[in-house]
């Protein structure tokens, strides 16, 4: 298993697409956080809400609802590029136990994405604080170190679990276009359609799909549902873990059954 993980590690960092995805993720997180944080601060100033305080990581969490597509793309490419090039056959020749290949990929990509989530979140939080703490934006943005660190860790965990979901889905689907479409449907497409039905049951279901579950876990205040997700962060984490397990199990079934 350690050997298989070492191989996956080497493969992950020896292609440029990994670095491009990381760079895109950092840029999207920083710009997203600045924009959403700026909007939040100006709105608070206009409405004169006394005592409002915006933790620097709050807009970062909101931005991650979009920026996490960089994580999804990276995790997807770690799998689908092997099928596109045919190098999956070389991978399976080297590690013929299929479950081991899947586990090695997930165990390399997910922790890497944890680190990426924490680091890009930290950069975004620092930039947001540096810009929005100024009196121009009412000085409402604060940087309480304990809360910030807790938020960053949760951002990292969110990215890691999203990466795990993506690895599972991509192994099951194999092709880039299909995997990305399915991931988009799971994270945005389906939940938004369900919300639009206006039916209570559909809404409840949509709130438990991977992205909203993640936002609940990160205690997002500002998202596509129009407000905080109405259940506990612990439940959000549980749902997201459940999605990751489900996706990886689906990947495992396909990987074991189908010829490479």
């Amino acid at each position: 298993m350690r050997n298989a993980m070492a191989a996956e590690w080497t493969k992950l960092w020896s292609v440029r697409s990994t670095w491009w995805c990381l760079a895109a993720g950092v840029v999207a997180t920083v710009l997203g956080a600045l924009t959403l944080g700026g909007a939040q601060a100006t709105e608070a100033m206009r409405e004169g809400l006394a005592g409002v305080r915006i933790v620097a990581t709050e807009p970062v969490v909101s931005a991650m609802a979009f920026a996490h597509y960089a994580v999804i793309t990276l995790a997807m490419l770690a799998v689908t590029s092997e099928y596109a090039s045919g190098s999956i056959r070389g991978t399976l020749q080297a590690v013929p136990i299929r479950g081991r290949v899947l586990a090695a990929k997930a165990l390399v990509v997910a922790p890497a994405m944890f680190a990426a989530g924490v680091l890009s979140g930290a950069v975004a939080a620092l930039v947001t604080y540096a810009v929005l703490a100024s009196p121009v934006f009412g000085g409402l943005t604060v940087f309480p170190i304990g809360e910030v660190v807790a938020d960053l860790l949760r951002l990292g965990l969110f990215c890691a679990l999203m990466a795990a979901v993506t690895v599972g889905v991509s192994v099951a689907v194999r092709a880039s276009a299909g995997s990305l479409t399915l991931m988009f449907m799971l994270t945005m497409g389906l939940p938004l359609m369900l919300v639009m039905t206006g039916v209570q049951v559909a809404l409840e279901v949509s709130l438990r799909m991977p992205l909203f579950a993640g936002l609940a876990f990160m205690e997002s205040t500002d998202n596509m549902t129009g407000g905080p997700i109405p259940y506990s962060p612990a439940e959000g984490l549980a749902w997201l873990v459940a999605w990751a397990v489900l996706a990886l199990a689906a990947g495992q079934v396909v990987l074991r059954r189908r010829d490479a």
Partner: protein, 302 residues
């Protein structure tokens, strides 16, 4: 070293590999021949555990491939030289493979040197020529210093120097006591490198014999105004006959003397009776000529 035991693979209602039993021995280069779509690649993929057999089994050193702890140290294979991430350098590709099987990093430099990839090792694999990709693929096969080597069309895209190199490499690998299994559609290439031949057609085994035996299979060209009559007579005597044209027959499985005698006995006039130079190309075409002749030719080749 490699044992195929009634190996069968069906894709839907198409049978790619049909009840194939073989044993590959160490110290020899076994050539794997067959027309396109004969099932050569599918058979190789099943040996490597990439495709699951519909029936039968493939064993490497007595064990199924997936039970090998460090498979690259037992079996090195080149199936498709282009199957490398196009943006990854050849060196990184080999390094990842090496790590997956606990092979020391120094070995990567060694096989790069052996394969003559040189400075191209640092280039992105997608920018390599087909010949360079083949060298990278062969480097990958040699990485684990394995006892078994399998190559699917290894000389594809190689320049004459490269072809000579592959030829020498396979001979020397077999000389070191390794099992070498190589598929090719280049008959002339097999004639130069293989000790033993396995010929399949439509997934079925046609011949499994030493090279000399396949080449020694006598083949005689006959021209006669009564070709039809003679063909029937020869067939009745157990000679394999192929009708080439109005007046032409190719007979295998009997000596030129015997055919002359049989023609004489039948009172058939002959315009030509000549031995055909033994070449693998010819032997191969006769072996795979048509499904009707499979059974008979198989006997002849053994």
């Amino acid at each position: 070293m490699i044992l195929l035991d009634r190996l069968t693979k069906r894709f839907g209602d198409r049978t790619a590999v049909d009840d194939l039993s073989l044993e590959l021995k160490p110290g020899t280069v076994t050539g794997f021949l067959g027309p396109n779509g004969a099932g050569k690649s599918t058979a190789m993929r099943m040996i490597l555990g990439l495709d699951r057999p519909t029936a039968g089994r493939a064993l490497v050193g007595g064990r199924p491939y997936h039970e090998l702890e460090h498979p690259l140290r037992t079996v090195g294979a080149l199936l498709d030289a282009r199957a490398v991430h196009p943006a990854r350098s050849g060196r990184a590709h080999l390094l990842a493979l090496a790590r997956s099987n606990g092979i020391p990093k120094a070995r990567v430099a060694r096989v790069l040197e052996l394969s003559g990839l040189g400075a191209a090792a640092g280039k992105r694999a997608g920018t390599l020529s087909l010949g360079m990709s083949q060298r990278l693929g062969i480097a990958g096969a040699l990485l684990g210093d394995p006892e078994v080597l399998m190559f699917d069309e290894p000389v594809n895209g190689l320049d004459p120097d490269g072809v000579r190199w592959v030829r020498g490499l396979m001979r020397s690998l077999a000389g070191e006591g390794r099992t070498v299994f190589v598929s090719s559609h280049l008959m002339s290439e097999m004639q130069l490198t293989a000790d033993h031949l396995v010929v399949i057609g439509k997934g079925r085994l046609i011949a499994d014999a030493p090279l000399e035996q396949v080449l020694a299979n006598p083949s005689v060209l006959i021209r006669s105004p009564h070709a039809g009559e003679l063909a029937a007579r020869l067939a009745a005597e157990g000679v394999v006959v192929e009708r080439r044209g109005e007046n032409e027959l190719i007979a295998t499985g009997a000596s030129i003397e015997r055919i002359g005698d049989l023609a004489h006995d039948a009172g058939v006039r002959l315009h030509e009776l000549s031995p055909r130079a033994a070449s693998l190309e010819q032997a191969y075409h006769e072996l795979t000529a048509g499904s009707v002749e499979y059974g008979a030719s198989k006997e002849g080749a053994r």
